[in-house]
């Protein structure tokens, strides 16, 4: 089901979150994306750690393979068990969103480094209808699909950095990073 199939907004619980606007810039999502969550002064020093893997999200089976790939990556990076669970759960939410609302897409897993801290960056891109109302999409309990409406807001809480880039008709890209030690 896609947003728009269901005109009823569902349950909207008001949560304190950062208002944001949808940025439109397909080829440089990170530069153009609206930042959500705290800004880190060390941002410029972030570097990719060399290994990036891409995983298609085109079938139910891919939801599982994507999850397994993220789990393996969290082990490589050296996350604690709870952090592994946070990152894999966030990945599961984002990948399922891309599959259900975005009609499929791609997950890219990157090991990143900032000073001596390692982290894992998940980039989930779909070419679906985009999210017309980001404020609503981040609100716990809001859903246009079969879930509980906690996926996007929940995934943001589970990760340290979370950026979303969406425009109606142009798909959605989420870039979410978790560091091995909190920023």
């Amino acid at each position: 089901m896609r947003p728009g199939d269901d005109p009823s907004p569902g349950l909207v619980a008001v949560e304190d979150h950062h208002p944001q606007t949808a940025a439109v810039e397909d080829h440089h999502p990170q530069a153009a994306a609206t930042r959500l969550g705290p800004t880190h002064s060390g941002q410029a020093a972030e570097t990719a750690g060399g290994s990036a893997s891409r995983h298609p999200i085109r079938s139910e089976e891919h939801l599982l393979t994507a999850r397994h790939a993220v789990r393996a990556a969290t082990l490589d990076v050296g996350f604690t068990l709870v952090d592994q669970t946070r990152v894999v759960t966030a990945a599961s939410e984002l990948v399922r969103n891309a599959y259900i609302h975005g009609g499929g897409g791609t997950l890219t897993i990157e090991v990143v480094r900032r000073a001596d801290v390692r982290g894992l960056r998940l980039t989930v891109t779909d070419h679906g209808p985009g999210i017309s109302d980001l404020d609503a999409a981040f609100t716990d309990g809001y859903t246009t699909g079969p879930g509980l409406g906690h996926g996007l807001g929940g995934a943001r809480r589970l990760m340290d950095d979370f950026r979303i880039h969406t425009a109606e008709g142009h798909g959605t890209t989420v870039v979410a990073t978790r560091w091995t030690t909190p920023p």
Binding site: E60, E61, L63, L64, R67, R71, L81, V82, Q84, T85, R86, V88, T89, S92, E93, R96, D140, P146, G147, L148, G149, H150, G151, G153, G154, R157, L158
Partner: protein, 139 residues
């Protein structure tokens, strides 16, 4: 796993309690099939309780949380109760951060505690009582 009528998840009956468990490999379709199977078994077996062991689940995302919450509600409407047992600590922490406290879902620290809550008792020392206990471990 593509057969919508069969989730491949074993559902055992112990007296009037159904015992089952979820695995990480359960995909969305199988999870929905499991819900249907379980509710049908509750009625067919006249179960009064259902124990769902989730100690093998390495993550519970909002999809699985929804399955569990709906199962608990559906089961209650059928006159039985569900106990979700054995959630891993990391999963519990993550679920809370996700904003999902599983309202309406009864839980137990492990399967044994869950069975006790459902009225299934161990009788240490009752082995001597012999055949009678073996035939009627239920109350």
């Amino acid at each position: 796993m593509s057969d919508p009528a069969n989730s491949g998840v074993p559902i055992l009956r112990l007296g009037d309690v159904l015992v089952t468990g979820l695995l990480d490999e359960l995909d969305d379709k199988a999870a929905m099939a499991f819900t249907e199977e379980l509710t049908q078994r509750i009625v067919a077996d006249r179960a009064t309780g259902v124990l769902i062991d989730i100690s093998r689940l390495e993550l519970v995302d909002s999809f699985v949380a929804r399955i569990l919450m709906e199962l608990a509600t559906t089961t209650r409407l059928l006159g039985a109760r569900v106990i979700v047992a054995g959630m891993r600590p990391a999963v519990a922490i993550t679920l809370v951060e996700l904003g999902l406290g599983l309202p309406g879902v009864a839980t137990a620290v492990n399967a044994e505690q869950g069975m006790a809550v459902l009225g299934w008792q161990r009788h240490p020392g009752s082995q001597a009582a012999g055949r009678e206990a073996a035939h009627a471990p239920w109350r």
